[in-house]
Amino acid sequence: MSNKIDLSTNIAGVQFDNPVIMASGTYGFGKEYSEYVDLNQIGGISVKGLTLKERKGNKPPRIAETPAGILNSVGLQNPGVESFIREDLPFLKNYKTKIIANIAGNTIEEYCEMAEILGDSQVDAIEMNVSCPNVKAGCLAFGTTPKGIEEITSAVKKYCKQPLIVKLTPNVSDIRSIAIAAEGAGADCISLINTILGLAIDINKKKPILANNFGGLSGPAVKPIALRMVYEAAHAVKIPVIGMGGISSWEDAIEFMLAGASAIMVGTANFVNPIIPVEIVNGIEKYLESHGHTNLNEIIGKLELND
């Protein structure tokens, strides 16, 4: 590793050693992957979506492979926020990787309560999931209108001791207005995109493959959509943007940063190649070096559109 290249990135006051963060829902609570990857080499981990109380999740099948992607309907299976703090966070705090608690609720009050509980914990930031397509109540409903985003962000922000990241859904017609609403209501950062609502069909059974019928699409198939939305959102707000959606290589990561992302999240690609985060970190460094850059700020948002 070259000493000249600075890979650190600052997200709302939290200094990440590098811009590669593991996306919520794809990395559990880090332990499983720690057998394959040195978690110290990863900038951050956004943990499995947490709810106020334990959630069992949806019936299986919960996954379907689609062209260049996957469709999932896990339905936020998790042990609940307090169990996470007690049982899982101490393990993660053995590493220098930054920990983002991803929270999802059925009501604004639930989000506020979780933010308050996490305030006394050692998590570095809170990512508010208002965009999960796999739960019937709450969650996505808050994330699809500027008014909904504004209402929930301003309420939860009051309870946050850590920076608040609002994770946006792509299932909207105008991402800019949603991003602006989040910023206006006090979000410290926005992350996008969550999965895109989709359907996969078993033609022999004439039934959906997923027990929950619809699921969230992720993987390389969504990358062009995610890139466009990250570009639009990053140019609509002044707060930092974390970009994600189909990132499977360091080249993908560079594209997202050029589009305006201060950090990126890797999700589905972890299932295919568990050491992909380290490969991406190394690739970003080599890219910066070969282009004569010394830090990430020299590429973040530097995409020049054609005339």
Partner: protein, 258 residues
């Protein structure tokens, strides 16, 4: 613990229509694999991105190789079966394993179709005095690896759905007959869910401990993504366990079959 490995394919052989045996050279897997565990194997390409979980069928420690048997079901398995040489990217060995207890003198495995394969290595590893394999296939053409099962178990009985080979029966009927003549100390089963449910019910009725190897669509294969849910009992309640990490082997009494 599982490892990410890039291993050499020794050969790939067609056993019957759409079923292939792949032999892979791997000192790590040959030394560490336990019966019931699986490998998560990368097919490659954007049209079959996810790794495929495939049971370990057999291990040859003297050659440092292991076998997997793959049934062509879609794009990924089709791609895998076409790989005859070169290297494969695998995560292995993964999952828990069948419990082998030296106190068990009579063991019985009950396999259906492609589910028969992980039971072969189990039979080879068991030191039981009496080993029975009850295997069910669709028809004569789909009966494979019979010679290997005969070498691993003293007693092998085969049932086919259409009676074109062995006995025209369901493999569960063979089990009921077996129990009448000699009650096994433990039953191990792998195959279609409906078959394993029936085997579990027979085992429970006869008060025989029974282990089942469950199957579910997987994402990561190591317990992080939580997609391969399997409903299991938890006291008076239930929970979703995960086939890749908590399984694939469960006690039959743990599983909620509804």
């Amino acid at each position: 613990m599982g490892n990410i490995l890039n291993e050499q394919i020794v050969n790939t052989k067609m056993l019957c229509k759409d079923v292939f045996k792949m032999t892979i050279s791997s000192e790590y897997v040959a030394s560490n694999a336990k019966p019931g565990q699986f490998v998560n194997i990368r097919c490659g390409g954007l049209d079959a991105m996810l790794r495929r979980p495939i049971s370990i069928c057999d291990v040859d420690k003297s050659q440092n190789t292991f076998d997997i048997v793959i049934q062509v079901k879609g794009r990924g398995t089709e791609k895998l079966c076409s790989m005859c040489q070169g290297k494969v990217d695998i995560m292995a060995p993964l999952g828990n394993s069948f419990m082998i207890d030296d106190k068990h003198e009579n063991i019985c495995v009950v396999g259906g179709g492609i589910g028969t394969f992980p039971l072969l290595y189990l039979l080879k590893c068991s030191q039981a005095a009496n080993k029975t394999a009850l295997l069910g296939f669709r028809n004569k053409e789909s009966v494979v690896l019979e010679d290997k099962f005969r070498a691993a178990a003293g007693n092998v009985e085969i049932a086919t759905d259409d009676g074109s080979y062995g006995k025209k029966a369901f493999v569960t009927e063979l089990l009921e007959e077996k129990i009448k003549s000699q009650k096994p100390d433990i039953i191990y089963t792998c195959g279609p869910a409906i078959m394993m449910q029936k085997v579990s019910a027979i085992a429970e009725k006869n008060k025989i401990p029974c282990q089942v190897s469950m199957e579910q669509r997987m994402g990561c294969g190591i317990g992080a993504c939580l997609v391969c849910a399997c409903k299991t009992k938890n006291g008076n309640n239930w929970e979703f366990s995960h086939v890749c990490k908590d399984g694939p082997v469960f006690w039959s009494t743990e599983v909620c079959w509804d």
